[in-house]
Each structure stands twice: as structure tokens, then as C-alpha cells.
């Protein structure tokens, strides 16, 4: 499995740790965008979930 992946925000090449997990959220070291590992095989990242605010409860 490759541990290198391209940031989908800025295109930078990112080296991910050997023990990276599905669902893990990592910052791009170039642009700072938060990325979510959505698949380990093939290694795929997407933009991490957006953070929103809401009221209630």
C-alpha cells in the first residue's frame, strides 16, 4: 500500500504515517486543509467533514 497521497485541495504530495486509519483526519502540511482518509486500499482522501453550528437541546 502506498502511503503517499495527493491533497485534493492544493495538489501537494502528502506522506501519511504507516498506521494511518480509515476515518482519520489529517491536516495538509502545505495548505492546512483538513483531509479525511476515506479508504485505505486504494489510499484515498477527501475533504474532512465541514464544521457547522446549530442550536437545540
Amino acid at each position: 500500500m502506498s502511503h503517499s497521497v495527493e491533497c485534493i485541495e492544493c495538489g501537494a504530495s502528502l506522506s501519511l504515517p504507516d498506521n494511518v486509519m480509515q476515518g482519520e483526519i489529517l491536516p495538509c502540511s502545505d495548505c492546512g486543509a483538513e483531509l479525511e482518509v476515506i479508504s485505505l486500499n486504494p489510499l484515498t482522501v477527501d475533504l474532512a467533514p465541514m464544521e457547522m453550528e446549530d442550536w437545540g437541546e
Binding site: 480509515q22 476515518g23 482519520e24 465541514m50 442550536w55 437545540g56 437541546e57
Partner: protein, 348 residues
């Protein structure tokens, strides 16, 4: 099966401290659907599946009480109308239905709890559960919408301010008790605005609300009594706020604080969040995170247990406590599918 559960539970109107009929229904339903279930000593509905001596426990903690205001229960075009459909019988029933349908992984016990008195400051049900269990993972049952995960709730504080003075002629230049109350409120607002500088998110701001102001006089003394509510960010504890606003209280006034809860914010990189993100994506949805300006039982149990914790459930929390409270049954079924996937892929 699960749409019948939510519809029947919503039909059993259960404002805080009047939950027993709904609790009995949920316990009976869980017993018929593969749970060991009972009513605990404070009136909570509690059921579990999996091995009783399993090394890992997932707690699915919802609440079964609602605010007051009975809404006629009906289903129209796949939408369930009724008090508690969103806050929070939808999330609670989604927990029970998903845990009933799921194959519980070896090594895990899954507990579903419908706590009483979440909508009042006692939080009796959650406080009892906090002392009784020590789960490894916890999901609080509150509406986040089926594709979002709630990561935090603000803290809360209510301050009652009373100032009394001897009555004087209205031509006297000394400010009235009512005017002194207004001065206190303006000072609180100014302090909060100063503290909120450079904090853009509502979640990070101190949000004061003047809930009531009343003046009275018996001809000899006049008084003002005010209730000021605060929604608090993680950086500001209730004790710090009491200390800060005490500085604005007039001499000989009284300041009483209650309903204090600290804010609680969860980490995004936990096995709980990772597996929930995968479960939402498995249903073809793009997940989101949400921070709430209200409070929930997460504020109660989160600090006690110290385990990974989130809140999740179907429904639009903007409908909480409104006369138009309603829940899409399609979204409810989607949340059941997310939770079932999550349970069947539990890891720690």
C-alpha cells in the same frame, strides 16, 4: 418495524417527570426484540444486547422525556408530527431499532438507555447512568440529522440577581431599583462583548440572555429581580462567570447561580468518530460535524466517563421544543442504517 416503534413511542406523551408510560412501552419493545431490558431505580428504560461480561461496552444514551406541549400525533407524506419526534424520541428509537437489528460483534455489549428528566435541570436519569456504567464508547441520542455528527455542546448558567432599596420620591436623583437592574444587565452585556472579541463562532462566545426582569414595591422598599441566562464556551466555566459578573452587582444585592453545566467538546480523531464517518459514507452520504449552542446529557456524562463521545440522531434540531416538531421517517430509517453499520463494525 422501527417506524412503528417511533410512532408508538411519540404517541405516549411523556413530559419530564411523567415518563413512566413511555418507559414501560420501550422496555416491553426491547424485551420482545432481543434485549435484556428493565426499568432502573430512577425510572430510566435500559436494555442491552451482547455478552454481559464483554470487555467493551457501547452506551447509546438517549432521553425519553420531552418538553411540555402535546402535539397531535399523525403521519402525513412520510413525516411524523408529534412532541418528541425530533427531541429526542427519534434518536432514541433509532438506537433501539439499530441495536435490535445488528449482529453484535464478539467482545461487545451494547446498552440502550432512555433517560428521564433530560429537559429539566435535574438531569436525574443521566446522572444515575453516569454513576452506574463505565462505557468505552458513548453516543448521545440527540438530533444532528442523519448525515452529521455532533462534537460538542456549550455550557450553561442561570443567574438570579435581586437588588432591594428603600423607596424614595421619584423626583430624587438616585436611580430606582429597576434602573439599577438595567445597569447590571448592561454591564454583563459589555463584559460578554469584550470577552467575545476575536471569537467568531457562536460556540466560542459567551452568550448572555435577559430571561426576565420584574420590579416590585410594598411602599417602603422596592426591588428588582432578574434572571440572566448564559450559554458558555469551553474556555469559560460557570464559576468564572459567576465571579466575573459579581463585580457588577450593586452593594447589598443578592446573586444566586444555578443550572451550571460546563461546555463539552469531543476530539475528532477517535475510533468512535472514525467509525461513524465510515458508517455515514457507507449510506452514500457526505458526513458533517456540528457544534451545538445548547446543552445535552453529553455535558453530564462526558466529563465523568472520559471516553470517546458524540451525539447523533435523525432530525432537525431547529424544530426542538417548537409547536411544529416533526421528523422525516425516511431520514429516521437512514439513521437506523447508519447506526446498524456502526454497531456491526465496532472497534476500539
Amino acid at each position: 418495524m422501527s417506524a412503528e416503534l417511533i410512532t408508538e413511542l411519540v404517541k405516549r406523551y411523556s413530559p419530564s417527570e411523567q415518563e413512566s408510560d413511555a418507559v414501560r412501552y420501550l422496555v416491553d419493545w426491547m424485551t420482545k426484540n432481543g434485549f435484556e431490558a428493565s426499568v432502573d431505580t430512577v425510572g430510566n428504560a435500559v436494555g442491552w444486547r451482547g455478552a454481559p461480561d464483554a470487555p467493551y461496552t457501547l452506551m447509546l444514551l438517549g432521553h425519553i422525556d420531552t418538553v411540555r406541549g402535546e402535539i397531535p400525533v399523525r403521519v402525513e407524506d412520510g413525516i411524523l408530527y408529534g412532541r418528541g419526534s425530533v427531541d429526542a424520541k427519534g434518536p432514541l428509537c433509532a438506537f433501539a431499532a439499530a441495536a435490535a437489528q445488528a449482529v453484535i460483534p464478539e467482545g461487545w455489549r451494547v446498552i440502550v438507555a432512555g433517560a428521564v428528566e433530560e429537559e429539566v435541570t435535574s438531569s436525574k436519569g443521566a446522572r444515575h447512568i453516569a454513576k452506574t456504567y463505565t462505557p468505552d464508547l458513548c453516543i448521545i441520542g440527540e438530533p444532528s440529522s442523519a448525515d452529521r455528527i455532533t462534537l460538542g455542546y456549550k455550557g450553561r448558567l442561570i443567574v438570579e440577581y435581586t437588588y432591594t432599596r428603600t423607596v424614595s420620591h421619584t423626583a430624587h436623583p438616585e436611580p430606582s431599583a429597576g434602573a439599577m437592574g438595567v445597569e447590571f444587565w448592561k454591564s454583563v452585556q459589555d463584559w460578554a462583548a469584550h470577552e467575545n472579541e476575536n471569537h467568531e463562532r457562536y460556540f466560542d462566545q459567551i452568550m448572555p440572555t435577559l430571561q426576565s426582569i420584574n420590579t416590585s414595591s410594598d411602599g417602603f422598599n422596592e426591588a428588582v429581580t432578574m434572571m440572566v441566562g448564559f450559554r458558555l464556551p469551553p474556555r469559560q466555566g460557570p464559576e468564572e462567570v459567576v465571579a466575573a459578573v459579581s463585580r457588577f452587582a450593586a452593594p447589598n444585592s443578592e446573586l444566586r447561580a444555578y443550572g451550571a453545566e460546563k461546555a463539552f467538546q469531543s476530539d475528532k480523531n477517535t475510533p468512535l468518530v472514525r467509525n461513524m464517518l465510515a458508517a455515514i459514507r457507507a449510506q452514500g452520504e457526505r458526513p458533517g460535524f456540528v457544534y451545538k449552542t445548547g446543552t445535552s446529557d453529553m455535558n453530564i456524562v462526558g466529563a465523568v466517563w472520559g471516553c470517546p463521545i458524540i451525539a447523533y440522531g435523525p432530525g432537525d434540531s431547529r424544530l426542538d421544543h417548537t409547536p411544529n416538531e416533526h421528523l422525516s421517517l425516511a431520514e429516521y430509517e437512514q439513521a437506523v442504517a447508519v447506526l446498524r453499520h456502526f454497531i456491526e463494525h465496532l472497534s476500539y
